[in-house]
């Protein structure tokens, strides 16, 4: 039962399925692949855009910073150039007050060369002086770390006077000789920067930062506002210091957020502007796009898939319709063929489905259709039909009113054409041929052949009967003469005894002839193989003795009985022995001193399961020419001269043995031909065979009649 599984596999891997799989791959793969490509491109673009944005913002910021600081710087320069080191505090204060200042300037003050505050614009000078010498923005000038005339921008500090967080913008003040005479200080409220930076930020994690070249953050707007952090040690800062401007990705040393950033160093002031977009922010922007593009891709795939499915279904339907049409046509053609077959006399064609048998075509005449319909309706036949995978030939005896019909039928399973409509459904077509007539013909042929062989043995039998008859006549005549001559009762008794003995001998011969001549009855029954052999010997034994041919018989002990019609088996044996004799006589023409010998052996066939009995008939006539060996069982085939053989003997023998469920074979042994008959032993079967299944290949040597 391998075949359905294979075909199911084959059905799965057909071009349509492959095409469909390809379509699914294409439909699913194309949008997904393009989505991946688009996403990659887009995220790259996003990064570039973030970078560009940072660059732009940083440039703007630096410009804004320089523009903010520029006026302050010139103001400080202007003050420095006007400054007179001989001014006292009040003079200085007045000079400071002359300048109108933007509101971001918290304080405008002057310290002397020792770092002591001289005057502040916030209040007129009083007696107490504030010491600023410890402040970096003072010290850098005192130590001349900053060039004469250069602006210093300090770290954010809490003003001691202003109490505000400010960065100090300072310039050195020269005396008349150009020597260091003090520092002019402008305190810039960093809140101004920070507020401005805060407004620039587009998301929580964006960073805008102003860093001094010393690595201390002047102002920074991140998630939290901060200033004064020293990042001089950070790698990112050191890297940024190497170039005037650069783009980079870094993890902030302050809040630890990864950013895509851009830094620019000012040409005019010791300051660095850094603008960074959080990588997460960029990603988040990309994520939205990614979701959008994946969604689109998926939607596209699903849409394409549906279109593909619909197309495949459409083609499937189209193909099914086409197939159905073709099948309908094929069925019509088949129906015509079957109908034509059904017109053959003695043939009935039945279609068997779950619903039962129905006759196809023209109903055959006679009792065949009805009997066949009954037979096909039986459960046993349905069981057989259900298991069928290939045609079988069956023979069956169908019960019928007058006499049983002998029917040979071919049962052909139909492949369920619409496999979808239930594979379990089994349909068969049965071609039944009424063999009753043929069997009757065979019976006639058998009778003819029996007559033919009867004719052949008649000569011998005439001799057999003539012999005792001759003895009886002479003995009677001698008795009569003896009586006339008065030879006494002893002589008479001797003659009468002899006559009786001869009549007994004749009775035996005649009895057997009666069996042989009887029309064969239809019943088979167990009989001893030895009885059949002896019966045959009774007919031909004396004859063979006269022909100087020895016949030896050998029976295996405990041989089972065989199921047969004994007279038919005897006929077969007689036929085989006569053929052997003819062959021996033929050989004697070339070898006159040949001692003819025929051996008959009966034994259990041990090649099978022991259910058969073999009867071998071998001769020493040299065997059968190989070229005729395979034709030997054909009807009317004979090697004997015209008038000698009918050519029916072996073919009828073949038919008889086959009817008994056995077989007959011929081979050439070392001395001559060996015919082997195999017949079922009586313990092999429980009764007469009603139906025997034979392989569909029937030997071509069947009697053709």
């Amino acid at each position: 039962m391998n075949k359905p599984k294979e075909s199911r596999m084959a059905r799965l891997i057909n071009p349509v399925t492959l095409l469909f799989a390809a379509l699914v791959l294409l439909v699913g793969g194309l949008p997904l692949a393009s989505a991946v490509t688009l996403y990659t491109l887009y995220s790259q673009t996003q990064r570039h855009e973030a970078e560009a944005g940072a660059h732009r913002t940083a440039t703007l910021l630096l410009e804004s910073f320089e523009q903010t600081i520029g006026p302050i710087d010139s103001l400080l320069r202007n003050f420095a150039s006007n400054y007179n080191s001989t001014w006292n505090a009040d003079q200085t204060y007045n000079a400071l007050k002359e300048y109108s200042l933007p509101p971001t300037i918290v304080q405008f003050a002057v310290a002397d060369k020792t770092g002591m505050m001289v005057a502040s614009n916030l209040a007129p000078p009083q007696g107490d002086k504030v010491d600023l010498s410890d402040r970096e923005h003072i010290q850098v000038h005192m130590k001349k770390n900053v060039g004469q005339g250069d602006l210093f921008i300090s770290k954010p500090i809490l003003g001691r006077v202003s109490k505000n967080w400010t960065i100090q913008l300072t310039h050195a003040l020269p005396d008349a000789e150009g020597n260091f005479a003090g520092v002019v200080i402008m305190s810039y409220a960093i809140s101004d920067f920070i507020d401005f930076y805060k407004r620039l930020r587009v998301d929580e994690d964006m960073l805008v930062s102003l860093v001094g070249l010393d690595g201390v953050v002047r102002a920074r707007a991140g998630e939290k506002t901060s200033f004064g952090d020293d990042i001089s040690k950070s790698e990112t800062f050191q890297k940024a210091m190497l170039k005037k401007e650069s783009a980079y990705e870094f993890n902030s040393p302050i809040d630890g957020i990864a950013r895509i950033a851009y830094s620019i160093r000012s040409d005019r002031y010791p300051i660095l502007v850094v603008v960074g977009y959080s990588v997460n922010y960029v990603r988040a922007k990309t994520a939205a796009f990614r979701n959008a593009i994946w969604g689109t891709a998926l939607g596209l795939a699903v849409a394409l898939l549906i279109v593909g499915l619909l197309t495949v279904r459409y083609f499937g339907t189209l193909k099914r319709l086409e197939t159905q049409e073709m099948e309908a046509r094929a069925r019509q053609r088949e129906a015509s063929v079957l109908e034509a077959i059904s017109r053959v006399p003695g043939v009935s064609v039945m279609h068997l489905t779950e619903e039962g048998p129905s006759e196809i075509g023209v109903s055959a005449e006679g009792p065949l259709p009805a009997a066949l319909e009954n037979y096909l309706g039986t459960e046993s036949f349905k069981a057989l039909a259900g298991k069928l995978t290939e045609p079988v030939v069956r023979q069956a005896h169908l019960p019928n009113a007058d006499r049983d019909l002998e029917v040979e039928m071919v049962v052909v399973p139909l492949r369920a054409m619409e496999a979808a409509s239930g594979a379990a459904q089994k349909e068969v077509v049965v071609f039944a041929v009424d063999q009753t007539l043929r069997r009757m013909e065979e019976q006639k042929l058998y009778q003819i052949s029996k007559l033919a062989s009867l004719g052949e043995v008649a000569t011998g039998l005439a001799h057999e009967i003539n012999q005792p008859l001759g003895v009886i006549r002479l003995a009677a005549s001698n008795a009569l003469i003896g009586m006339k001559k008065g030879m006494g009762p002893a002589h008479l008794a001797l003659k009468l005894d002899r006559i009786i003995q001869q009549t007994v001998r004749m009775t035996g011969i005649i009895d057997h002839m009666r069996i042989f001549g009887r029309k064969s009855d239809e019943r088979v029954q167990p009989c001893k193989p030895s009885d059949a052999v002896e019966g045959a010997m009774q007919v031909v034994g004396a004859h063979f003795r006269l022909d100087n041919i020895g016949v030896d018989t050998r029976y295996e002990s405990g041989l089972p009985e065989v199921i047969c019609r004994q007279n038919q088996l005897e006929q077969v044996l007689i036929n085989l022995m006569q053929n052997a004799r003819d062959a021996i006589q033929e050989k004697r023409k070339r070898q006159p001193d040949l001692r003819g010998h025929i051996q008959v052996d009966a034994e259990v066939d041990r090649t099978g399961a022991g259910h058969f009995v073999k009867i071998k008939v071998s001769d020493n006539a040299g065997g059968i020419p190989p070229e005729v060996l395979d034709r030997i069982f054909q009807p009317f085939f004979t090697t004997k001269p015209p008038g000698k053989g009918t050519g029916l003997g072996l073919s009828v023998s073949f038919g008889i043995i086959r009817e008994h469920g056995g077989d007959i074979k011929v081979e050439n042994g070392p001395e001559g031909a060996i015919f082997t008959i195999r017949l079922p032993a009586s313990d092999a079967r429980s009764g007469t065979a009603v139906a025997t299944t034979t392989p569909s290949a029937v030997p071509s040597v069947l009697p053709a009649a």
């Binding site: 000569t459 005439a462 001799h463 003539n466 012999q467 008859l469 001759g470 003895v471 006549r473 002479l474 003995a475 005549s477 001698n478 003469i481 003896g482 001559k485 002899r498 003995q501 001869q502 003795r545 006269l546 022909d547 100087n548």
Partner: protein, 143 residues
């Protein structure tokens, strides 16, 4: 006509010294031989009998008196026609006369026997009077 010998049944013993017997009967059936010899003896014809062709050839060789051979056609060792041919060839000087009897009455067999040199063919069962007449005629004829 030597009717005096008819009283004895010993004629069927084939003793070579029985010089009176000029007739040799060949048949493979002992009972048949028995009755045939007795019946001929009743008719006054002495005879010697053997049961095979081989024995017949021996008898002819050993008994120069034998002039007539009555033989069956079908015998296990050699058929009657062959026996006739063989005896004629082996003993050409004896001028043997042959009479044939057969249970088969096949025309072909009888024709071939006549061709081989038989005087007459008798189908079995024998027309005994005709046989006796034929034998007596041959007995009377000069050897």
């Amino acid at each position: 006509m030597r009717t005096e010998g008819a009283q004895t049944l010993g004629a069927r013993r084939s003793f070579p010294e029985d010089a009176m017997s000029r007739l040799l009967i060949v048949d493979d059936e002992p009972e048949y031989l028995d009755e045939l010899v007795e019946a001929l003896a009743f008719g006054g014809i002495e005879s010697t009998s053997v049961r095979s062709a081989a024995a017949a050839i021996d008898a002819v060789r050993n008994d120069p008196e034998i002039a007539i051979v009555l033989t069956d056609l079908r015998m296990p060792d050699m058929d009657g026609v062959s026996l006739i041919t063989h005896l004629k060839k082996t003993f050409p000087a004896r001028n043997l006369a042959f009479v044939v009897m057969t249970g088969h009455a096949a025309e072909a067999d009888m024709a071939s026997a006549m061709a081989a040199g038989a005087v007459r063919c008798f189908p079995k069962p024998l027309a005994f009077d005709a046989l006796q007449t034929t034998i007596e005629k041959l007995e009377g004829a000069p050897a």
